[in-house]
Symmetry: C2
Subunit: 317 residues, 2 copies
């Protein structure tokens, strides 16, 4: 059984551990803060039954998946014999630089060293390493056991084979890699989220619509198709002759619109106040945690729904 | 039973007819092209059983809903006694100007005159009318019986009560209105789709990721949460103290990113070619129609899934 090392077992690391373990990998967990690996195991114990109930454990039982998780008592022990290291420590470039020096020292020379960072470019914390060609970012949307997309981001010195192997490993565990060809601020997903947020704040600032109405436009409008088709497939199906036809018909409209969408906008001014007021009218700060559990339950249920739909597609029904 | 007039019964009008009829309204259909109303009724006959099977007819039987649809033999007859006119004729400002003159002439004086236009500002085809204060846009994402969001867009002279009544009617039939406070190019949804597409093409042009990988980032990443939460609720749940906390933490990151997202980009150059090539590798032009049916089936299944989830939320389970 091939081994994965999870270094840093907070919110992201503990979710990665479950994702690798349910795919049949042996997973070693290490965190330098006392008690964190135990908390990660307790978390797995609490979530595995729900995943099983939603048929999201690749046919394995919670006990079987739980059996694939082992706590390591030292970094060195965690890294021994692993094929892939998934680092999920604190989001700070100095911390990651230091951690990666240690990973390089103790991990087998062929192991991929992957970081879960959501916002730091891989070049920023791997340049000093002797084996920097084996370092990549593998950035999930949390939790990866419910959201398949993972950004695989190379630095300028990442070697093709380590980048490819990371993508293949992601596919092997049931994730869907976004195989980025170069690093860029925000990677792909936060850049897409960023433009949507900029426009959302801009519409609020311009007094065109209230924050809640903009949320409706996504969750009860565009977001439905986007949950099973990307933006390119969506427009490919929205013109009789596909995407080129769509571009011919609508690029002019979007390009006129774009002229009023380029201006930067502050999120901290009136628009931010309006969004904060709107959200707090709907949900108090005390209810945030409960609503987060609701989100996770909805995500699990959606994931289960999509799994059934994909099976139905594949059966040709 | 209150009456709705559907003027223009193509792709959009026929779907509106089903949406109003399943909510218990009496629906009159008129189209000036011979055979189009009959085709709309045939379409309803073909889709109502599927909707019933997915529990998407508000508890009514296909026959009952079908019984709410009547073909009118003249515009005048279609408009008699209606409370709301839903115009879905050809997307051309001259056509709409002419049609709205006739709607004004024959519809009861209190009826709302609503257009389904996706891209023409309401001011562009209602300014000349005597009763222009009762005109709005009510723009759906097609088909409205599967996608609840509807943009309710006033012109500068739309009276508050007609705008409000349109929103209320949308809620009464189970839709979710986006109550826009003023007209703007692209309304809300196409503006949001526009920025996402601009960034998607930009990333392809810059060689950061292939079109298919960008689609993965939405359909297997961000789009999952967006199918049941808008962008504002999403970020509200992504910082310990809610949206204001999120803005404090991440506005800087997004604002740095935004500097490289403002430049306009042509969709017809290399990026467009790459997207076209990528899509055609996955789906030939001949398969487009079949894939469109797949999309509609997935949308129906998702709609049914969401209905069950909403009931579960409301039961406090």
């Amino acid at each position: 059984m091939q081994r994965i090392a999870i270094i840093g077992t907070g919110l992201v690391g503990r979710a990665w551990a479950i994702t690798f373990a349910r795919a049949g990998f042996s997973v070693s967990l290490f965190d330098e803060t006392d008690g964190k690996t135990n908390a990660a195991i307790e978390f797995a114990d609490s979530v595995l039954p729900d995943l099983a109930e939603n048929d999201l454990l690749s046919g394995r039982s919670p006990d079987e998946v739980r059996g694939n998780l082992q706590i390591a008592t030292s970094l060195e022990a965690a890294l021994a014999d692993c094929i892939h290291v998934q680092e999920s420590t604190f989001e700070d470039v100095a911390v990651k630089r230091q951690v990666f020096s240690e990973l390089e020292k103790y991990a087998p020379p062929d192991a991929v060293l992957a970081s879960s960072t959501s916002a730091i470019l891989p070049s920023a914390f791997t340049q000093h390493l002797d084996s920097r060609e084996r370092c990549v970012v593998a950035h999930p949307i949390n939790p990866p056991y419910l959201v398949p997309a993972v950004e695989v981001v190379p630095s300028p010195w990442t070697a093709e084979n380590f980048w490819q192997n990371t993508g293949q490993l992601m596919r092997d565990i049931g994730q869907q890699p976004i195989m980025m060809k170069k690093e860029i601020d925000g990677f792909v997903m936060n850049r897409m989220q960023g433009v949507l947020l900029q426009e959302a704040f801009r519409l609020v600032e311009a007094g065109v619509a209230a924050p809640e109405d903009i949320d409706i436009g996504i969750r009860s409008g565009l977001g439905l198709r986007w949950s099973f088709m990307g933006p390119f497939e969506t427009i490919d199906l929205n013109a009789p002759q596909g995407v080129r036809d769509y571009i011919e018909r609508f690029e002019g409209m979007y390009s006129t619109m774009a002229q009023s969408q380029a201006e930067p906008i502050s999120w901290k001014g009136e628009a931010g106040d309006a969004v904060e007021t709107s959200r707090r009218e709907r949900l108090s700060l005390e209810q945030l945690e409960q609503r987060t559990r609701w989100r996770d339950r909805r995500l699990m249920s959606l994931s289960s729904h999509q799994r059934r739909e994909t099976e139905r597609d594949q059966s040709g029904d």
